[in-house]
């Protein structure tokens, strides 16, 4: 079985986890830039992080036969500090042309604040100018519906951005139909407590169909599971879904979205 995990934070995981991915057939991953669990002190930390994503992780992954791609961006949680945010936005362009960078991500909203929106708009503008792919982080829990709607409104108002070059991630039952209706790709995240389970992800496939959906683990430094995609594939198998459909969901779909960036090799 071949699987692509389009959203996994391998820099927060152990090298043993790379081995687990390889043994499970996950030979391609993409890692969005995100919040490390603490606020960084200055722009130098972001230089280090973007070098980690574009140099260290691809090399660490390659030891296990895994292709590692990444996304560069300023996460919404650290966008609240306006001065730092402006310094970080100024350095982002110098990383976007590196060979494994697929686009801007994960950018989006966290608590739906004015400063978060400002940083998001600035990065969407950069992506539109460069015609880069966009990976969107939507807020957690009670803020998700509102944040997803604000984000979609901003993107839809920029006619330079084609919705099928945007993946709106961490979708759940109350946001999927609106995201799909606007022509975006959507991501379902398998996160034990705060997002979805394998059972609910398979329910979503049964309800909304198999097009424009990417399923990811978002495994990171918190309670999460790098093998969550495999467990969801197994849940499909347990219900009797055909292997062809499983292959489409976990391999062909992420490949189709990510291949819109010419640097991506599935």
């Amino acid at each position: 079985m071949k699987v692509i995990d389009p959203h996994i934070h391998m820099s927060s995981r152990t090298t043993d986890d790379y081995m687990k991915l390889a043994l499970g057939g996950i030979h391609t991953v993409s890692e969005p830039a995100f919040w490390p669990g603490y606020n960084r002190a200055g722009v130098a930390s972001f230089h280090d992080y973007y070098n980690l994503l574009t140099i260290t992780e691809p090399a660490r992954a390659a030891r296990f036969g895994i292709r590692h791609y990444c996304w560069i961006g300023l996460n919404s949680k650290e966008a609240e500090d306006r001065q730092l945010s402006e310094e970080v936005l100024a350095i982002i362009p110098q990383y976007l042309d590196r060979p494994t960078v697929l686009g801007l991500g994960e950018i989006g909203l966290n608590k739906n604040s004015v400063n978060e929106i400002r940083a998001l708009e600035s990065q969407l503008n950069l992506a539109a100018e460069r015609n880069d792919l966009i990976l969107i982080h939507t807020p957690h829990l009670e803020d998700k519906l509102k944040g997803t709607r604000i984000i979609m409104e901003i993107i839809r108002n920029d006619k330079r951005i084609q919705p099928d070059r945007v993946l709106i991630d961490h979708a759940e039952e109350h946001t999927i139909s609106e995201i799909k209706a606007h022509g975006f790709w959507y991501g379902l995240t398998l996160y034990p407590d705060s997002k979805g389970s394998p059972q609910r992800a398979v329910d979503a496939i049964e309800i909304y169909g198999s097009d424009r959906i990417c399923i990811n683990s978002s495994a990171d430094w918190s309670v999460s599971d790098p093998q969550a995609t495999l467990k969801t594939a197994n849940e499909m198998r347990r219900r009797g879904h055909p292997e062809e459909l499983i292959h489409r969901i976990f391999y062909e779909n992420p490949k189709a979205f990510l291949s819109q960036c010419p640097k991506f090799q599935g």
């Binding site: 966290n110 739906n112 604040s113 509102k146 604000i150 039952e173 059972q199 097009d211 009797g240």
Partner: protein
């Protein structure tokens, strides 16, 4: 695009998922019992999260075939106005305004 039919019959789904969901139901009952039993139960029962939770339990019966979506919406902030600052704020899993 067309939905993907669940290959299992409803009876087979009941068979497959009954025990794990029976266990989840007991976890919820035990969670509510624990709140009742512990010191300060009245304060906890006045908390907006407790009340949104109870409201969501009612939705299990009242919201028809789209229970999951209805419960998700009941926990969500449906407004569209950005907030002035996110400084020091976190997500709670429930929206206080939903109780009004």
């Amino acid at each position: 695009m067309a939905p993907e039919r669940c290959p299992k019959s409803a009876q087979a789904s009941l068979e497959l998922y009954f025990l794990e969901n029976r266990a989840r139901l007991l976890e919820i009952a035990a969670f509510l019992d624990r709140i009742d039993r512990c010191d300060g139960a009245a304060d906890a029962r006045a908390d907006f999260r407790y009340n949104t939770f109870i409201k969501a339990l009612h939705l299990l019966f009242e919201s028809g075939p789209q229970r999951t979506k209805a419960i998700q919406l009941s926990f969500s902030d449906p407004t569209l106005e950005p907030i002035a600052s996110a400084e020091g704020l976190r997500a709670h899993g429930a929206w206080e305004g939903g109780l009004k």
